[in-house]
Amino acid sequence: MIEVDKVSVRFGGVVALAEVSAVFTQPVSGIIGPNGAGKTTLMNVFSGFVSAAAGRVVCDGEDLLRLSPHRRAHWGLRRSFQKEEIANDLTVFDNVLVQTDRGFTGASARRAEVARLIELVGLADRADTFGRDLSGFERRLADVAKCMAGNPRLVMFDEPAGGLSIDETHTLGTLIKRIHAETGAQTLVIDHDVELISEICDETLVLDFGRRIAFGPTAEVLADPAVKAAYLGTEEV
């Protein structure tokens, strides 16, 4: 369970997030909203790259905001970035292995886990390829494997489908849906692609100008007039 409790973020005079609260309980949840709504800011509060002016984020009883960014990763927080961050001078295998380097399990167990995850995302034959030689989609898949490694508890994707084709987006969506079953981690997905969100997310938070405008089961939320207004604009009367 992920509890976002009245989180506020200000950049100077700009209010990026205004007392946003939500309790995510489903295996895969979504966060949507127009550009500048505060989606990535919220994710950065989770990872520790942006400090919240007020509020708490509690996951499985742990107050995440008290931990330093790398300690959150040790706790089990994983995230991908809008631009996938795969190191060019490491192989796919090593890129995923980094995530387990602090684990207390033995080296061979960790290597077996990494090999399994690379196979799961469909990169088994590319495991020894260097990051610089991968295609955009392969980099994204490697990133997903990385997010699943080392006993994650909460995995966050920031616009994972950006720049992907429809088929690739579908493959990615299927993979994201498997994360909970494979690792037990809860997943949060930010995207503009409402189709992807409605396909994989059971519940969705909608932000606009830093405020929560709707939260609940995805289908209901998408039918909400306020959400439609935020996305499509209101009719002039």
């Binding site: 990872s47 520790g48 790259f49 960014p69 790398h70 990763a73 040790h74 927080l77 994983r78 995230r79 970035f81 961050e85 795969i86 190191a87 060019n88 001078d89 490491l90 090593d94 292995l97 980094v98 995530q99 380097d101 602090r102 080296a107 290597r111 990385k146 080392g150």
Partner: protein
Amino acid sequence: MLKRLLHVTPSGAAGLAFAAFAFLVIPALAGKLWLSVFISTGCFVLAIAGVAFMYARLGMVSLTQVGLMGVGGWVMLRLNHAAGFPFEVNLVIAALVTMVCGWILALPAMRMRGLYLALVTLMAAGGLEIIFATYQFPNGGEGFWGVKTGSADAFRRPWLAQTPEAYLRYVVAFVTLGFLFIEAHRRLWPGRAWALIRRSEAAAMAAGVNVTFYKMWAFGIAGVLAGAAGGLLAGSLGLLDDATFRASESVMLFALAVVGGARYWLGAVIAATLYRILPALLNNWGVDADLAFVIFGAGLLHAVITAPNGIAGQIMDLAAGLRARFGKGGKP
């Protein structure tokens, strides 16, 4: 995992072959003057390996490497004249003291990105230059600074390497160990953490990498190598001159590391050759050694414009191309 650690790449094989050549052949052929040039070249290869690795693997720019060599050299001379430890013990202490000094100097910059480390280390190099110029290097005198006028006391070389030929071999062995030390790190978990830090510090943090810790680790390795290089340099003549350790030399050393190719062992060798052997050659030919600066400048322009991986990168690409063409396969 052990197999991955001990795997020999073509570039690594070439490096080991070159080390064997430098160990066996060069000392046998070189005259007395050239022996001392080669010994100092070897010491600078070790120091360049430190800065080059930090730059290539983490994108960190340190402009105080020669200053840190001075610290290592100072500790080495001080211990030689003050205590009766064997050479190797002094060398280890010199390397460790240099590492700690490097940490203290760089600590304020470790949490910052990009240019700050370069600026802070450059200031440190300037400070060290003044200290060395003011107090000079120990030569057997009294007191903490250990400086006296007149001729210096004797320096004890390692018992394995009493002659200049043997000392060159000794230095070559240390340089080889230094490269293997860096490469072993690169292949294990610190190397993975460093690669991620170079990609993006945010991504590294998100992957659970303690960015400050791993940067400190890398800077510590560069410090150890600089300290050992300074200590070995002190052992070459048994005394050091403060003019060797000016701040401008640190900047020059970094620039040459880029010209040579910071990613490769060959790059460090090329850089040290340009830095030490080229001026000696020019002197030998009766040409003003300052001409070397013109050549360095041309080399830097060449690297910036056409060779992002330096001269060594171009040579390695050429070698890989030839291997692919003549069908032996294998990755560079």
